[in-house]
Amino acid sequence: MTWVNLVIQGILLGGLYALFASGLSLIFGVMRLVNLAHGDLSNVAAFLALLVVDGLGWNPFLSLVIVLPVMFGIGYLLQRYVLNRTLERGPMPPLLVTFGLAVVIQNLLLEAFSADSQGLDAGHIEDTAITISSRLAVGWLPLLTMGVAVAVIGGLQLFLARTQWGRGFRATSDNQRAAQLVGINNKRLYGFAMALALVTAGIAGVFIGIRTTFTPDAGSLRLIFAYEAVIIGGLGSLWGTLAGGIVLGVAQTLGSRVDPGFGVLAGHLVFLAILALRPQGLFAKQVDE
């Protein structure tokens, strides 16, 4: 029963990673941009939520109505005025710029909030669980997180499959020059993609903040988990990212069971094993041309 319990906890933890990684997957898919500041930007959302919670006395979940529009705006402006200038010159400039941005964000957060651990208190939901048997209980918060992750990924997938903007995203991903021939302003579209990505990162950041404590430098480790989820699942596939997050989450929880210090390492080992055995990931979208 302990193992069943662990696997369930791992799956639910995977939902959180997937939520966090879906934005990364989206922007890589649309504009081939590797955003090394994704983790720190999601951390920004957690600190913004902290400001709202402290300042207005709101519940952290409610703070999302302020945090998410702000993240949307940050994403759009960041892409339009900074990151768009780094594209079209190969993969190196965006890497350097987003790496620098990550360092800047960490230090600004450190300056503003000190190095203390912070937490978001969502109240009762954090310590209530559905008891399935005397030895098996599933917490409401991880369950809610998983539900939100599935809803966000499902929503993104529907958006990409069914709406005109979604088709524009996929067309631009296929061929950015041809997209301009049908009248797509790709710089604006990229801005919109980053805005959406940071909204998902913002949701993930706040949920992580509720689940556990966070510090100004927490973003970089999260970024690694998110990338591992994306790579395990296969680039360009959102449901793959969810599966990747789950694989990573289960590996980490089972690893922690063997030894509390072994969890993160177990995740890395599974990631490396998949890179070695199936480098295109579990659910890679096939690429033609």
């Binding site: 296929d174 049908v182 009248g183 797509i184 033609d288 041309e289």
Partner: protein, 235 residues
């Protein structure tokens, strides 16, 4: 006023100059053919008109307004649409989605996916198929259909017949009169003189980045055209 006026345009690829003081006028309605050998500057001309490539001198006027400073996507909104050489359809989107994305700028006009299927019936049974899996001729038909979906006033067709079997080319060219009837002016670039001249109301012949001959197909003799095409001086 002419629909399109290209005035004294130069264009460069790095140090290489591809267009020299290019002048060209397109009146609304009908079909214009630009012919010339490989490297004469035909594709470059279309790239400059559509905004894929900047011109280094001169101006491009569309409906009397200067458009050479506008990015390509804004020119689509004004009514200039390019069907590029090599077709460049979106391979991971279905045929139908390619057409829907073609209508991105929402210019009002007669064209809809259904109308494109009517024009190119070969696309009908491919509707839900990924465009990357289509044959060359089907992809070319789709590329033209996608270009029409923005309801352009001027449709630029770059080497539509390239790499296609003659029978496929003939069926594509059979669609041209319908396109013109619906109010779109066609500017067709071809290496294949016969095909282009047969549909054109006016022909421009380019040689090494310059217009060396122009006129209506009726006025021009075969000898004049081939002399201009190959750059042979008549004595």
């Amino acid at each position: 006023m002419s629909l399109l006026e290209v005035k004294g345009v130069n264009a460069h690829y790095g140090p290489f100059q591809a267009l020299f003081q290019m002048d060209l006028k397109v009146e609304e309605g009908g079909t214009i053919a630009v012919i010339g050998a490989n490297g004469a500057g035909k594709s470059t001309l279309l790239k400059v008109i559509s905004g894929v490539m900047p011109c280094s001198a001169g101006e491009v006027l569309f409906d009397g307004a200067a458009v050479h400073g506008l990015p390509g996507h804004e020119r689509v909104a004004r009514g200039i649409s390019l069907v590029p050489e090599g077709r460049r359809i979106f391979p991971s989107l279905s045929v139908h989605e390619n057409l829907l994305v073609g209508g991105w700028v929402k210019r009002p006009g007669p064209w809809s996916p259904d109308k494109v299927y009517e024009l190119f019936p070969l696309l009908v049974k491919r509707r839900e198929q990924r465009a990357g899996t289509l044959s060359g001729g089907e992809q070319q038909a789709l590329a033209i259909g996608r270009g029409l979906m923005s309801n352009p006033r001027l449709l630029l067709l770059d080497e539509a017949s390239l790499g296609l079997a003659p029978i496929v080319v003939r069926s594509l060219y059979k669609a041209m009169p319908t396109i013109v009837q619906e109010g779109t002016t066609l500017l067709v670039v071809e290496q294949d003189i016969g095909q282009a001249v047969s549909v054109a109301d006016r022909v421009y012949c380019l040689l090494e980045g310059r217009v060396v001959l122009s006129g209506s197909p009726a006025e021009l003799t075969r000898e004049q055209i081939s002399a201009a095409y190959f750059g042979v001086r008549r004595r």
